[in-house]
């Protein structure tokens, strides 16, 4: 099975962390918060589009909470497949990081 790309992983995790509150802007802000850099729109939405096409993410249409004045907002959720992918990725990540000699301490010293 193919492993998720880094940006896919970051996006899926952002959506997962945001739970009910994952929509376009919040996802981007979450990603920017997590990574500490500004992201171009294209770098976010093109992979998001791919995730949706691959069936890792589904969309929900809901009334937004006021400020937009009744315009529907699109919320994102992980699908079962997306969750499974994320779990696999976590496993992979853990096994990659397993047994890594103390990197940070060595670097700082």
């Amino acid at each position: 099975m193919e492993v998720l790309s880094k940006i896919e992983e970051i996006l899926l995790l952002a959506i997962w962390k945001l739970k009910e509150n994952a929509y376009g802007i919040s996802i981007r802000e979450q990603v920017e918060k997590d990574t500490g850099v500004k992201w171009r729109s294209g770098a976010i939405y093109a992979p998001l589009n791919r995730l949706k096409k691959n069936g890792y993410v589904r969309t929900l249409k809901a009334k937004s909470s006021g400020e937009k004045g009744g315009r529907p907002r699109i919320y994102y959720q992980l699908t079962q497949l997306g969750k499974k992918k994320l779990i696999t990725t976590q496993d992979v990540n853990e096994s990659i990081w397993m047994g890594v000699p103390d990197l940070k301490n060595e670097f700082e010293s």
Binding site: Y23, R28, Y45, A46, L48, K68, R73
Partner: protein, 857 residues
């Protein structure tokens, strides 16, 4: 919140629609809005707008890169898989590619031919405004040889006509430049404005003024080269024996392209026909062309001139003028649709052959479906959508079509020289490559690929992954009814073509063998010029003393090349109608030379000196039409406008057996022979069959003695006769070739399919053998499976081909009747060919060891 004056770049959303769906778009829009508002609060509006556009570009770039990379990856995968399949199933791929190659090569060849046919006379700049004037007769047939008085009259009376010119095809003349004499057969005469109407490019001279002098000539580059070599042809003087006068070359045009219906080597002034002939309304001499003013509607103009003959010829005139666009002239043949039908016929055949090759592809692709089912299943499980799989299989088909195109181009390039020679055209393909041709080729390839691939693609993509993956044994009968229908279609076309081929060649043989009522073997026609006619009698006598020479005569035309038309009336005519007849002028011994039996009376004879002035011989049909039982000694009156009144009456001295003076497309017409020496143009010499070469040498020597320095130019009459049917013979040969190819393609497909079916039924056959079925039974069973469909194809093809071919035969007044034999023959042939194709596999499997068949897992 502040009022948003900020405009989002709408074009980005429009373009992004291509890549993503509405919901993602909505998210992007919202996000962009927020970003831009923030940016404008922070940096001011101008910068914000710039940032906004920048984000838009970024989005577009990311999405298109993403989709491109994805597309490339999938495309690479498709190509890889396609190549794998081509390699793995060598026989099938070979059959597919070979079939498509043949199909496309035929399609290209015929396409080139059709394109050339349709390009006739389209190089003239004013082609849309040029018309040839036809006469539409009361029986609804048309005639293009009309009166030369019409053109000038139209030009003088109607402002709609910008120019009018008359063209005369002169039979031939000796042309002399200093000591060189050649026989020229393509001399045209016309008005000075000819080159203003038609755009034949001039190499030297001025098209406006080239023909303004009566004694001027315009010649082609080729002719100039022949007479003058490297010298400048302008102003050189040529002597034409026909008028025994000197003419000056005032213009040289480029050689006339093959796709021009006007073909001349030398062009002179039409005034040489004589003022009388040009002014006579009653005489039908040759074609008239008119150039209409821009914006004149030909239909309206046609109605305006309907009465012109009634006004000028007489109120009882039954024929009316009709305008024929220049671009249609090439397709015109008097009284029959001819070439247009040939063009459609071949276009249809080309399409048929291509379709048959596509059918092969469809059949083999679906027959192999079980091999691909797993792949389709896997792709679907991994997440491929149906349209992606359709795209994949279509792509595969287009890829194979592309291979076939390259092979077909190579094949066409190799065949083209022979094909050009055969059809008498100069066709080119690769050397004339241009954008539109490349585009057409790609379109053909794409079309073929899609036509061949659409059914397999739809069929294969419909598999349910669960079914396919669960049971390895794929239900084998799916899709087979369509496959059988396709085979039936293929063989129907083949059988239809076989039947047509048989009938075409039968009809051609019939024409060749038909007794024409006159002899044409071992007779040569010798062109004689006016100065030679007085010497003819001595020439004849000197020849008759030689061994190997049987008879000598002279006449205006060969007896089967006569188109001159007169009205005749006769003593005791009960009706008030004259009958129209063909006529020609002949000399003594004419009937003897051509072995035409005289049924009543006698032939022209020197014993009766009055024969030269007052006698005529008619054919059976004329006698029958006159309704007189013994027509000998009846006086007839011939309404020939060029003859003096005293010469128009004649007494019938004999009736000759009917003969075919025109091609077998038309029925025998009444015919009148007269003696009128000044019009003679040919000497006819009958040689003894065994001594042709010797006799020819003798004739040549005698001719040289009588006319020193003049080339000995002759033609064999049987060759001339066969020229009348060139078009039919071409049709016959092309038919043979294309039928052969279509049968070959159908058999290729059958072969592939048979091998596949047998392979699929391996186990079943193994079990049958174990249970005691004999080899013969097994072979018969597998063979019958296919033969019954071919029988069905025969039943479909018979009525269709009967219908089409009887239409074709309608063009001939004398034709074979369509008997049942051809159909039986076609059936037998198709069955035998199919049997041979299928039996290779069916016999192979029938003879094999059942243990081996059952152990294949």
């Amino acid at each position: 919140m502040k009022q948003k004056k900020l405009k989002l770049p709408q074009w980005i959303f429009f373009l992004l629609q291509w890549f993503t769906d509405e919901e993602i778009l909505a998210s992007i829009e919202e996000d962009l809005e927020v970003r831009c508002i923030k940016a404008s609060e922070k940096h001011g509006e101008i910068l914000a707008r710039f940032l906004c556009q920048w984000q838009g570009f970024s989005l577009l770039f990311s999405f298109s890169l993403e989709s491109f990379l994805w597309g490339v990856t999938m495309f690479q995968n498709y190509i890889k898989v396609a190549f794998r399949h081509i390699k793995r199933r060598k026989v099938y791929s070979f059959i597919n590619i070979l079939g498509l190659t043949i199909g496309m090569a035929c399609f290209l060849l015929i396409g080139l031919w059709v394109k050339d046919e349709l390009s006739f006379d389209r190089f003239h700049q004013k082609k849309e405004r040029i018309y040839r004037v036809l006469n539409r007769l009361s029986d609804d047939s048309t005639e293009f040889n009309i009166t030369y008085a019409l053109g000038p009259a139209l030009k003088a009376e109607y402002p709609e006509v910008e120019e009018a010119c008359r063209v005369c095809t002169w039979y031939g003349s000796h042309v002399r430049y200093q000591d060189n004499i050649y026989v020229e057969r393509n001399i045209y005469l016309s008005d000075p404005n000819f080159f203003r109407i038609f755009s034949f490019p001039f190499v030297k001279g001025n098209p406006e003024t080239a023909l303004s002098d009566q004694y001027s000539l315009v010649i082609t580059e080729q002719t100039a080269q022949k007479y003058f070599g490297k010298e400048d042809p302008m102003g050189k003087v040529l002597n034409l024996s026909q008028w025994d006068d000197d003419f000056t070359v005032t213009g040289v045009i480029e050689n006339i392209p093959m796709n021009s219906h006007l073909r001349f080597d030398i062009m002179g002034r039409i005034e040489f026909l004589g003022e009388d002939r040009l002014a006579r309304w009653e005489e039908w001499s040759g074609p008239n062309y008119i150039l209409l003013q821009p914006d004149v509607s030909p239909e309206e103009f046609e109605t305006k001139i309907t009465d012109i003959y009634k006004k000028n010829v007489g109120p009882e005139t039954a024929y009316v003028p009709e305008l024929q666009p220049l671009t249609r002239v090439h397709f015109y043949e008097p009284g029959r649709p001819g070439r247009v039908r040939k063009v459609t016929m071949f276009s249809v055949i080309a399409l048929f052959i291509l379709v048959m090759a596509c059918i092969n592809f469809m059949n083999l692709a679906t027959a192999q479906s079980s091999k691909r089912a797993l792949e389709v299943g896997m792709r679907k499980v991994i997440g491929a959508q149906r349209r992606q799989i359709i795209r994949q299989f279509l792509g595969e088909a287009v890829l194979i079509a592309f291979f076939a195109l390259i092979l077909a181009l190579i094949a066409v390039e190799m065949i083209l020289p022979y094909f050009s020679q055969f059809t008498g055209k100069s066709l080119t393909l690769i050397s004339d490559m241009n954008i539109s041709l490349v585009f057409t080729l790609l379109l053909i390839t794409l079309g073929t690929g899609i036509l061949a691939g659409i059914y397999p693609a739809l069929f294969l993509s419909s598999f349910r992954p669960a079914q396919v993956l669960k049971s390895q044994l794929f239900s084998k009968n799916r899709g087979s009814p369509i496959r059988k229908i396709l085979i039936v279609v293929q063989f129907s076309i083949s059988v239809g073509l076989i039947v047509s081929t048989f009938l075409v060649s039968q009809q051609l043989r019939y024409i060749q063998k038909k007794d024409l009522g006159l002899d044409r073997d071992h007779i040569i026609g010798l062109y004689v010029y006016p100065n030679f006619i007085p010497k003819f009698e001595t020439f004849k006598n000197s020849l008759l003393n030689q061994p190997g020479i049987q008879d000598v005569t002279s006449a205006a035309q060969p007896p089967f090349r006569v188109g001159e038309n007169i009205q005749i009336n006769w003593e005791g005519n009960q009706t008030d109608q004259m009958i129209s007849a063909d006529y020609t002028c002949v000399d003594y011994d004419f009937f003897k030379t051509f072995e035409m039996p005289i049924l009543q009376g006698r032939a022209f004879s020197k014993e009766y000196p009055t024969d030269e002035r007052t006698a005529c011989v008619i054919n059976e049909t004329a006698a029958r039409r006159m309704g007189i039982t013994n027509s000998v000694n009846t006086n007839i009156y011939m309404n020939h406008p060029a003859w003096p009144e005293s010469f128009r009456s004649a007494r019938i001295i004999g009736v000759v057996k009917d003969f075919h003076s025109r091609s077998l497309h038309t029925a025998i017409r009444p015919f009148v022979f007269r003696m009128y020496k000044p019009w003679h143009q040919y000497a006819f010499i009958k040689m003894k069959g065994s001594q042709v070469q010797k006799a020819l040498a003798l004739i040549k020597k005698a001719y040289k003695d009588f006319s020193p320095g003049i080339p000995f130019d002759y033609l064999f009459l049987d060759e001339l006769f066969n020229q009348q049917y060139t078009s039919e013979r071409q049709l016959g040969r092309l038919f043979n070739a294309f039928t052969f190819l279509s049968v070959a393609i159908a058999c290729l497909g059958l072969f592939g399919l048979a091998s596949f079916t047998v392979e699929q039924r391996t186990k079943e056959i193994g079990i049958r053998k174990v249970l005691g079925a004999s080899n013969q039974r097994i072979a018969a069973m597998t063979t019958w499976e296919f033969l019954k469909w071919i029988l069905l194809a025969n039943l479909i093809a018979w009525p269709v081909s009967y219908f089409v071919m009887s239409k074709w035969l309608q063009d001939f007044a004398y034709k074979i009747s369509i008997g049942p034999l051809v159909f039986v023959l076609a059936a037998v042939l198709s069955l035998v060919v199919a049997l041979l194709t299928v039996s290779y596999h069916s016999v192979k499997i029938a003879l094999s060891n059942p243990a081996g068949l059952l152990r294949d897992e």
